[in-house]
Assembly symmetry: C2
Homo-oligomer: 466 residues x 2
């Protein structure tokens, strides 16, 4: 009979010791397939342990398929086949973090000034939300997002972007990537997607990765060229009309109208209006969103709190035109909302209480000061003698067109060597740029304090020799 | 010259009043295309306002494309074409919420007992996270999720599921839907995806919606039939081996090994092991995960905090085998993490502090009591005379097989009429079930307190007449 060494003083329960012993016997073939095990009572008596202990071990073996129970007959060893693949050394794991250069002066466009985030207010609102301890906080929320948040967004859009969106048209999601991947499912992979070239390369990657065919569409000084859109057989066009990334073009009214006219000509044409940093316009009133000029339901408006609040918050949203909303609800209602409801309620309170508006105003002031400090430092250091800035009316970055004597890749590399992070325009090229395009660099200024602008540009002066 | 009525006492800034006036004149055609506007100085003098005000209005009109500036010549009206589509009445908006029946006794499987959630602890941890006020909290996190959280998950998996996963292999995402949609991008749409039939219908919908071809694979009493997998040309199999949804089958070791052997036979075969409610096993040790038996890197392990903590938290994760991890990093590094970093840090602290383990233990006790109360009530009311429960060793639902005299759709409908929410098994059928399958109902018991079990079943007794 089975005679394991059971250690009743050990940390492992007896039933588990017994289970492991029998499993080992089966795996080693010492208990053969079909062999009958002693009855629970007999084994318990043999081992001087309780029947319950044996039962625990047998049950585990039954559950894992090592044993089979035959009513009134007992327990039999079941075929437990050898592991299919010998444990092998896999390829080594890639390192945890990809090496990221630590720049002393980082003109990246993907971060915000973290000093602006109202931690205390957010903590207070989060505490308020959690103190309600309501069931609605925990169970799945509305697939489009918490109603209270969608109402706050609708009201914000109406007051600041002239957009009349019903909360029922708004879908909240965990970042633009998530929303774009849902949109590809909604609008179909058969459609061809046009994206701005140069443009935000990530949009191209996400759309391709979701299985869509993506066509880079060239720009002129007014933004996306509608004639090129016509020629390309595109069905869905992704645009950043309020502040083109990276060129900074604000699409004028006439081009907007031409774009809307293009979309209105076929039932399956849509415009994805990415309004990613429209909160940051530094002169005059913001330009009305394409969505607000659209009478035909052809515009899907997208925006994010990544720039206006924090990238790590992972809250974006879109406004669907009514006919798409209907299809959405028919086909995608099964998708759960991707944003935690704690965050959604806290953000709703943040917006309702006017905190968001104040945060935007404070951020705008701070970023404006940085932009001005950057431009002043450029004048003082003589950078404006060899380059010129564009796209500064809005948004959180500037484009720096440089004299043709340089190559932009080299400029960026030399900047990196002296601890200054700037991106070459070429990171936004989806196709090779025209040979005669001057070199250009993208400078996001949200993370560099005003007093650092001159030292940063002094370094560039030394590195670039201007 | 332009002569608007400007109201300096109004709430609208003067420059905006002027801007609106001129825009209206252009739109109405009273200012013709090509017409030259007065100089800023002249108009300011005419209207007795400052040049800065006129400049504000002109800049806005320039930015929106209504005006064009010609150096040294002045400002000219630009072609502003009519809106492309007449504003039309869209289809009416669908109602905000789909009608959801409010059951007095809800045996739904998609919710948890919200009374268990440790609000106070969570609020405290969230406050701790927010009080650090660090930049790392706000800017984009590691695309796979915050390292601290991945470490906590790896340690949990090792201690409770026997899974040796390096934190570098873990990817955190905003729900299983998000992870599955990423996996389709990683494993390819060319592959055929096998899913359990009957099974969790949402998996089928998500995979199809992401553009994958999905094949329902039949089960036998040991779970997914590997022979059917072979015959179907499937490349990727989605399984719930630790507790099949909805049948409750715990896949025995031999079947697990057969499944792993199937996967090892071709380079492009993978198993998606969905371990969705493995924390809730009520007898014996949990069965080792497929992932922990896999020596060949063919298993992608998926789990979620939706069942073990709260559905609204939106945190799921997967463990990628090394060779897929490499591809992931090469091709998907651009995707931002979809979970807010506040939540990720709070959850990491929650796990590190042992709160998660305690929460699971408390939940397991509470759910076990509910399961036992349900089974006792079934005996007391005589339900066990006409039906039998299956799948009760683990997980958070039971399957109730009923006598053939009934039809399951009718049983569910009659239950709903008396305020008891139960799902027919047929909601999990991806193809018509065998004609001789008895009727069955799915009963999740997480939301029904023990003292409600008898009243709930009494209602069923009256409705079903047993």
């Amino acid at each position: 009979m089975l005679t394991p060494m059971l250690d009743s003083g050990g940390s492992m329960p007896l039933y588990e010791q017994l289970y492991r012993h029998i499993r080992g016997e089966i795996q080693a073939g010492r208990l053969a397939v079909g062999e009958r095990l002693p009855s629970k009572r007999a084994l318990a008596a043999h081992l001087k342990i309780s029947v319950v202990t044996v039962e625990g071990a047998y049950n585990q073996l039954l559950a894992e398929g090592y044993l089979q129970s035959q009513p009134k007959r007992g327990f039999f060893v079941q075929a437990a086949e050898a592991l299919p693949v010998p444990a092998q050394e896999g390829p080594p794991l890639p390192p945890e973090e990809p090496p990221r250069p630590g720049f002393q002066y980082n003109f990246s466009t993907s971060a915000v000034d973290t000093g602006l985030f109202p931690f205390a207010t957010w903590a207070k609102l989060m505490r308020e939300v959690l103190s309600q301890q309501e069931a609605t906080l925990l169970n799945s929320t509305h697939p489009q997002g918490v109603l209270q948040l969608r109402q706050a967004i609708a009201s914000h859009l109406y007051r600041f972007r002239g957009i009349q969106a019903h909360p029922a048209q708004i879908v909240v999601g965990a970042g633009s990537e998530v929303l774009i991947s849902l949109l590809v499912q909604l609008l179909g992979r058969e459609s061809r997607y046009g994206v701005e070239n140069p443009g935000y390369a990530k949009t191209h990657r996400i759309l391709s990765s979701c299985g869509a065919e993506v066509v880079p569409i060239p720009l002129d000084s007014h933004g996306l060229r509608v004639d090129a859109l016509e020629d390309s057989g595109v069905g869905v066009a992704h645009v950043t009309p309020s502040h083109h990334y990276p060129l900074g073009i604000i699409m004028p009214a006439a081009r907007r109208q031409a774009l809307l006219r293009w979309a209105s000509q076929r039932e399956d044409r849509y415009i994805l209006e990415d309004d990613y940093d429209s909160e940051f316009r530094f002169s005059g009133r913001p330009i009305p969103a394409l969505q607000s000029m659209d009478g035909g339901g052809r515009v899907i408006y997208l925006n994010t709190f990544a720039k206006s609040l924090a990238p790590s918050l992972r809250v974006s949203y879109m406004v669907l035109p009514p006919q798409l909303l209907e299809r959405w609800r028919r086909e995608f209602w099964f998708y759960a909302s991707t944003v935690p409801s704690f965050e959604q309620y806290a953000l709703a309170k943040f917006m309702e209480g006017g905190h968001f508006e104040r945060h935007i105003s404070r951020s705008r002031l701070r970023y404006k000061a940085r932009r001005e400090a950057l431009l002043a430092a450029a004048r003082d250091t003589g950078l404006t003698q060899v380059g010129s800035f564009a796209g500064g009316d809005a948004g959180l970055h500037l484009l720096l067109w440089m004299d043709r004597r340089w190559k932009e890749g080299e400029l960026a590399a030399r900047a990196a060597e002296v601890g200054v992070g700037v991106s070459p325009l070429s990171v936004c090229d989806l196709t090779p740029p025209p040979a005669d395009r001057p070199p250009a660099l993208i400078l996001g200024y949200t993370q560099v304090p005003p007093q650092d602008m001159t030292p940063a540009l002094e370094r560039l002066k030394a590195a670039w020799k201007f």
